[in-house]
Amino acid sequence: MASKVATKKSRKKTFEKSEINLKLSKEKKIALFKTVVGIRRFEERSLQAYNQGKIGGFLHLYIGQEAVAAGIVSLMEENDHIITAYRDHGHALAVGMNMNECMAELYGKYTGCSKGKGGSMHYFAPDKRFWGGHGIVAGQTPLGAGLAFALKYKNIKGCAVCFLGDGAVNQGSFMETLNLVSLWGIPVVFVIENNGYSMGTSLKRSSAEESLAKRGEAFGVNWDTCEGHDIFEVRHKANEAMSYARDKVKPFLLEIRTYRYRGHSVADANHEKYRTKEEIETYKKNKDPINLLRKKLIADKTLTEALAKEIDQEKKVEADTATKFAEESPYPPKTEIITDVYWSVDNDEKKQLKGTYFFND
């Protein structure tokens, strides 16, 4: 029977002392810090470019949520895959996509990770087992199940982690998918990044039951909840979820409570109207995932103040360099509009394909 995973009641447990976190070498802890700082600096720089009118489209910033993607990606084993929705910059950088290709994509440049064809919401890196970057709320959830289905079909031990937001839980496709993965025993971990707001609608105003992960029970899916500001807690809980999926070949639903400092997207000018400034400031002050990690790493002597500052500076320079790279890169040539539409057309070296594929006069 599905249930909330039993955890020790003492919430004071320090997650950095849990087994999975004790395994972290000093280098790996520094790498985690670099990842969260990198995501923050990249996004701040992209916001600046957006405000200067240099990039358009939507820009859904992940600022405040960095520990979730960074923590979970750090647990990926060689046969694990991830997929997410449109707030995807953090996941992309965490899997190792570089700032240049990500920034250039925002600019719609040819050097972007999708050659300027996808934009902010549609980053992909199949070579890093990152399958997007999907624009429609919950649209990625059955795809995540499919990645895990493929692992099971091929008898490969691994799991897929499919991220979604607190708004996505109310889409039919997600509920259909939860039933399916439980019914078939699919090793997928659904991670609800609950930042409290589905666009401008608070959780209270959008979900009848505020414990989102509890919905797993209705489908026989084990579930748990987690705080998202402490990367060690994220790693601890996600490790349990991912290990369960891999070992038992079953799905798991993990709700991570987190917070975004910015609006739903940069175009969301109301984000200080549907919530108070104090709410934002209080979270920043008490739960900022980067500050918290820095403090913990200084306390355990992984970092010094000087090294933390140096990393911060390094990431700022990296983001500035990426911006320069993006600005200096060319737009894709017009001929690129009709490439990458069909695999068969792109790979028709011998010109053997029959029929018309594109209907332009």
Partner: protein, 325 residues
Amino acid sequence: MPLITYREAIKQALSEEIDRDENVCILGEEVAQYNGAYKVTEGLWEKYGDKRIIDTPISEAAFSGLAIGASMLGIRPVIEMMFMSFSYVAFDQLFNNASFCRYMSGGLMNVPIVVRGPANGGTNVGATHSHTPENLVANHPGLKVVCPSNAYDAKGLMKSAIRDNDPVFVMENTLLYGEKWEVPEEEYTIELGVANTLKEGLDVSIITHGRCAMIALNAAETLAKEHSIDAEVIDLRSIRPLDEESILHSVKKTHHAVLVEENKPFCGVDAQISHLIQFKAFDDLDAPVHRVSAIDAPQIYSKPLEDWQIPNETRIIESVLKCLA
């Protein structure tokens, strides 16, 4: 050459491809233990078991999306829509994800899935179960769509669709499932994008696809017998990619075109073909292009009226006579 049903031809294609490639599997509602709502997959579950022939809950969005996700890792799922009308509840998965993932990733991935099932009216089931969405599919670059009109084509196109590295919709027809045609025992495939001239003629080109091609062929015989009109019948087989050359070649020969399809007329497949003909064969036309489509209203339930609503021999003959008048 053995005479087999359209249904049997599809089943042979599925079975042969399952044998050929361990990554081919079939998912859909009632495809396994129930033997298929229209018995297309009859016996396959018994032969191949749970791994390859998979019953799904009634969750088109979930199993379509799951197939797309699995295809990214090399599985080649064939998903059955009990009716192609049901693809509408999986619209985001099929028309956003299957069609655009390759593009949005700048070509880093591809989605080798097949979406198959009946897409036709004429079965007395009302508007919700009578859609012919080949025009919708063709309107989404990234997707391919074929409409086999007979058992031979159904088998050959299905095998090509399964081997294709892009998402392909195969639009079948419940009214054809029980009809028989000659199908060779030896293996063959039919390339996408190649039309089939069902009957050569000199006076008018009837350009059509799906079951309408068979109706048009009968109409052509009547036109010959009763009106001494020598009609050419072109069966498109594949909508996207489209064999424009065969269409234009025929129209340049007959100077008259009558387009026949079961789609509703507004933005139907034939709207595009009509444009093609006027744009690329304007000077060859001796009369305006004529169209026979489903009468432009939701599909009516009442059987005699529905039979009139979708193209039939009488309406095709009337249209040809008008075009040649």
